[in-house]
Every structure is written in C-alpha cells, then in structure tokens.
Symmetry: C2
Subunit: 228 residues, 2 copies
DNA sequence: TCATTATTGCGTAATATATACACAAAAGTA
DNA sequence: TACTTTTGTGTATATATTACGCAATAATGA
C-alpha cells in the first residue's frame, strides 16, 4: 500500500467575538498565495505530527496572537476539489469564541495583519471562506440555543441586558426581558456577584457570573439548557 | 510554498440500519493492513481528484455494494496522531442510514466480506473505530430528535408501532403510544396510504408514508420537527 | 365457533411550560 | 428637582405536555 498523498490538509478557524451589539469575525491578510488582495480566515497546513486542534491553536497564535475561550470542530470542506486553485486542499474548519478582552489584538507577535470585522461588513474573502463563515454562523445560532456557549462571548462578570442583547443579536429576534431573565435565572447556573455595574444613566445592574460547576452538576442530573 | 504532505486522508462510513428492534452497523473485514483479525468500518483513502462525499460513496460501493439513503459528514478524526500505526491518517467520518431492504448484502459485487452487527454485539474493532461509532450513535440519538431522519431507517410504507419502536430503541426510553401518535400525526408530515398491514395476530395497522414535500413546505414556513 | 390473546386506534383531564404585558426603583442629566 | 434612562419584578392567559383506559379487529387454540 502506498501512503503518499497529493491532498494537502489544512485547518481554518472562524473566531467570533461580540462587540457593539454585533458579532465580529477575525480575519487575516494573507502574506502569500493567490489571494493576497483578499482577507482570509486564519489557518494553515497541518504538520505531520500535529493534532488537528493543536494545528488550529498554533496557527491562531502565529497569525493573530489570540488564544480562544471555546474551540470546536465545525466541518471539513473537501467536496469541491478546486477550493484552492493551487492544489487539492481539504480544510478542517474550527469554530471558536473569545471574550471581549481579546478584541484588542496584540501587535507584538509575529502575527500577520489581523483584524476584526463585523459580520455585516465583511470584506472580499479568499477561497470559499464566505461559505465557511456561513456554516459557522449557522452553528453558532443553533448551538447557542442548547449549550451555554454564549457566556464565552461575554466578560466573566456580565449584566443581564448584555446576555439578552447577545441572544437577540445572534438569534435575530426580540426577546422578552422578563421572561428571558425568569428562564435563565430559573436554570440556576448563574451566580450573583453582589456587585453592580452602572453604565451611564439608569439603574445600576447586578453583575452575574456563569457557574460552570453548577452547570456541569445539573447537566449530569439530566438538566438540559435551552433558549429559543 | 511546498504542498507535499505526509498526512493521508481517509474517509470512513458508519452505516446504520434498523432490524429486529435493534440498530445495526455495517462492518467489513479488512483484506490487508495491521488489523486483519478485526472488523472495521467501511472506508479508505480519498483520491486526489475526488470529493469527500464521493469517496465515501465509492468505498461503500466497492466494499459493501451498498447505496445509502441518508449521508452526512460526522466528524474528522485527526487529533490522535497515531490512530493508524502505519502512518499519519486523518479520517473524515460519515454517518449514513439505510432502509431495511438494504439489510441483505449482495455477494455479487467485488465487495470484501461485509456484515451487519447489532450495536450490542459489536466485535473487536480496528483503529479507533469504536470511538467513531460512539460519536455516530450520539449524533443519531440527537439528530433523530430534531430532523425526520428516522424514516430513512424504515420502509417507505410503515406502521406507527415501527416508528415508535425505532424511537424507543434509539432514545432508550419508553414512549407513550397515544401521545406519540398524536404528536407525530399533528405535524402533518405523514400520509395515510389507505392500506393496512396485518402482522400475526392483532388488529391490522394503517400504513403511513413520510411526505417529504409536505415536510419541506412546513419547514420553510417555520415548522420545527421535534420529538423527545 | 367461541373464548382468549395480541395489537391497533382513539379522547380527555391534569399539569407544566411559555407567553404577554406594566409599573416602580435607582441612577444620571439638565 | 423634574426628566430621562435603564433595571428589576409578578400575574394572568394560552399553549404544550403528560398521564391514563377501553373498544375494535384480527389470529389462535380449545
């Protein structure tokens, strides 16, 4: 059996952040290749002795200096043989979330030019990356409804209106403040910090924290997170 | 940039069928390689100019002679560098369903030895295929709850008790016959054929058919299939 | 052929969940 | 100190889910 392959294996990362009531995607400016005028998802070829997830983490570090808060495999793009005009490349796309602190990109890495783009202002994208982003948005939209991953898009301590805004932005429909609060608090997975935050005018808001261990405990007892 | 790769790309298929109130998985006996004494998932290396899904279909045809009724990408296994003791192999696993007619495997293809195994009687498996199957079961379990893929495991014309049994088997808990029927019929995605089936003793049962176009129409109007 | 057994088909009441909706409290601002 | 902004809270209604028993139809065997 011959193990030589003419297929190159790459990974790409779709990193989402949340700022200004908008979802943001992290893009880089390719230094080389056929798409130097376009922006692209961070990513690159997998090394022979490197796990896929490790490859994503490495590329993200190298190209953007970012360490993500949530990372999961999204989909492997390899049905279209000419995705990359140079050679056959199959790409395993990963889906990542970061909290707002990561929005300021450090320039002190050997990072390529990297920037955040709001979803509704995406530039021309390289390869099939617009399709990949679409798939990632779908995943985010559906997963945020049955897994508590939204908290990874917020600061550790957050205010109810932020959580609510986040869900409205991602799901694309209004949410009743009272019912939302009632439901989420009813889960018993948030801890009051006792602190308040006062942003401009208006009554100061209670700061909450997502309680991972409580969530895990409830989950193992059959609790099922769900927000529609 | 150098495109040579030492990573081989494979596809594997987890094909489920439903028989004797049990889920069955399709396995093959490897002709070569380090696992000739074990059974393995059908699959093989992807050709340079072949889409991933095409590769799965080809391998399934070659190794088992089967054409599946439902096929979707499951997960790409590539975090463990030594999954295959011979060389680095990343495998894109696909998840497939077939109806009961396909349970009789044709011997007239150039198929390797292929057999159906009930999930609770799986033999020793090659590579990390037991893990892959576990992931596939999880997917089936969750997906059958929000997509009408269960019908792909039944004959075109089926009886309510079969559908109910299928769900009980996969979800692993009892279902109230009346509530189940009420709910599913309420969806409006089944068509009565007008025919009946009498299996042994007992009152003959109405034969139904899954109405794909009705489902699509409802879906586009916001209908959301869900069975817990 | 008639009683028995097995399986299907069906409705209603009780409970739980989701939705709709308005006003007071706490801060900043003019 | 009046006005604006934002947060925090409860109740009534509608909807969905669950629990539950009995008659109809066929095969089987005494």
């Amino acid at each position: 059996m011959n193990f030589e392959s003419n297929i190159s294996l790459a990974v790409d990362a779709i990193v989402f952040a949340y700022a200004n009531s908008k979802l943001q995607v992290l893009l880089i400016q390719p230094k080389s290749g056929p798409f130097q005028n376009n922006w692209a998802l961070p990513g690159g070829f997998v090394k022979t002795n490197e796990g896929l997830k490790d490859a994503v983490r490495r590329e993200l570090q190298e190209e953007t200096g970012i360490q993500v808060d949530y990372l999961e495999q999204l989909y492997t793009f390899g049905d279209q043989v000419d995705r990359d005009p140079r050679t056959r490349v199959v790409s395993v796309a990963y889906f990542a979330l970061v909290n707002p602190k990561k929005l300021v990109l450090k320039a002190d890495t050997d990072a390529a030019k990297a920037e955040w783009f709001p979803l509704d202002e995406l530039p021309q994208l390289a390869y099939d990356h617009n399709i990949i982003i679409k798939v990632a948005i779908d995943r985010l939209k559906s997963k945020i409804q049955y897994q508590p991953i939204g908290f990874d898009l917020l600061n550790k301590e957050f205010v109810f209106s932020e959580l609510e805004q986040l869900y409205m932005t991602i799901l694309g429909h209004d949410i009743d403040r009272r019912n939302f609060r009632k439901k989420v608090l009813g889960f018993g997975i948030l801890t009051e910090t006792g602190k308040f935050r006062s942003e401009g005018s208006g009554r100061p808001a209670k700061l909450y924290r997502f309680n991972v261990s409580k969530y895990r405990a409830l989950e193992s007892k059959g609790f099922h997170f769900e927000i529609k």
